[in-house]
């Protein structure tokens, strides 16, 4: 037991190496923000493509559904390895796309963003869809009878309501995304988990990992409470609706 405490809860060790762990966690945070933003946008695009009306849009809908099913069905780690290992070699792409170094981040950072966006976009698309489907038909009818077209209805009536409704699942998925950024460590990106493991291998002490875990909790615990509050707020509101 003593060994466990010293191996994992060595607080002086944590303090001594807090700088480097924090630097790693900062990369985690940035990766979550970028990947999260892109995933939210890509997910919305997918959700809208999926609900395009009309016969001519059938192939578009079919491809979108296939995309969503496929990328919700493959482990993110595989996507990360595929993107990280192969993108640089796809010669038809321009160099700035194959080896992206925007804003000074290393290219493995952007591979991580890409892989996460590809995968979490699919998850978010389903969340959007659930929200869109949950908006009562009467709303749509009222909007259309005012002369608002499909797109205006989607933009001003459906989406605002849909997004409010699915805020809890969104926040949950975003928390999962934030934790999954640690998978990008397999490409060598010095995020929180990788830094913890490097400390472990050099000093034979895993307390850096515990410190990393605590830093994650700093974000994920408030997010969880936020989700609870949102759910409570919505329950109150919808109980009062006619």
């Amino acid at each position: 037991m003593d060994v466990v405490v010293k191996q994992y809860f060595d607080f002086p060790f944590m303090w001594e190496h807090s700088g480097v762990v924090l630097a790693g966690f900062w990369i985690t945070v940035q990766l979550s923000l970028w990947a999260g933003a892109f995933s939210l946008i890509w997910g919305l695009i997918l959700a809208l493509l999926r609900s395009l009306p009309g016969r001519w849009a059938k192939p578009v809908r079919a491809i979108t559904i296939a995309y969503i099913d496929v990328f919700r069905g493959i482990p993110l780690l595989i996507i990360i390895l595929l993107v990280g290992g192969s993108l640089a070699f796809i010669s038809v792409l321009p160099r700035w796309l194959r080896i992206p170094e925007f804003f000074g981040y290393p290219e493995v950072f952007w591979y991580g963003v890409m892989a996460i966006t590809i995968t979490y976009g699919a998850y978010f698309a389903e969340v959007y869809r659930a929200g869109i489907d949950a908006v009562p038909r009467g709303q749509i009818e009222a909007s259309r009878s005012l002369g608002m077209g499909r797109w205006a209805t989607m933009r001003f009536v459906t989406l605002p309501q849909a997004i409010r409704k699915v805020l809890p699942p969104f926040l949950n998925d975003y928390t999962a995304l934030m934790k999954d950024t640690s998978l990008v460590s397999v490409l060598g990106l010095p995020e929180a988990v990788r830094v913890g493991r490097e400390l472990q291998s050099e000093y034979f002490n895993a307390s850096g990992l515990i410190l990393g875990a605590l830093l994650f909790l700093l974000f994920t615990l408030p997010l969880a409470r936020l989700v609870d509050r949102q759910i409570k707020k919505q329950n109150i509101r919808f109980q009062r609706a006619p």
Partner: protein, 249 residues
Amino acid sequence: MPPDAPLLRLEGVTKNFGKLEVLRSIDLEVTPGEVVCIIGPSGSGKSTLLRCVNQLEPTTAGKVYLEGEEITACKEREADVIRRRIGMVFQQFNLFPHKRARETGPLAPETVLGRRSAEADERGRALLERVGLSDKVDEYPERLSGGQQQRVAIARALAMDPHVMLFDEVTSALDPELVKEVLDVMRELAAEGMTMLVVTHEMGFARDVASRVVFMDEGVIVEEGPPAEVLGNPREERTKRFLGLVLAH
């Protein structure tokens, strides 16, 4: 357009849902300023008729003309344009829960007609005042009573300056004590000359306000005429039976 040419004309309008025939070749004309009340048992197709007018339901057969323009044959985008001239109020209000009362009216005019916000807001407030809700302009629908919500819905429809208003059993979902405030607004609208097509169970309203009453049953118009006739002295057996049932209590 000549002054008494019909604002709205339905020609042989037929609607099937699968094998179920809900509307069977309906012919109807509504002239400007007319208030036509449609009564009948549930399942008679009254609501469907209304929804075919603004193409919320596409017709299986037959044509609908608004001010001489055929709206049944046009593409979706054109139908959107035509719907601007037709206002509709629903039984379930269908207000936008994320919009305050004063924001509801201007939404469509701003996005569809491109009106500037100051102008649209002004108009929205004026309409809310007209329906008697100036003190509720900042409220969200969830904090309004049913009658208040329905009045907001009427104001919302009016914001687009429609040429004809469709009312689909707009008081059926209201508690009895809230019905009057909505009917009063409708009375005023009629008095101001709005062309209205009203599906309702409120016989008192029909008798007082309608220029014409139409009795529908099983997808056809059984009888139509001035309220005094249809309601007071119906010709058809079916009409008598229905009124007997409705007026008995």
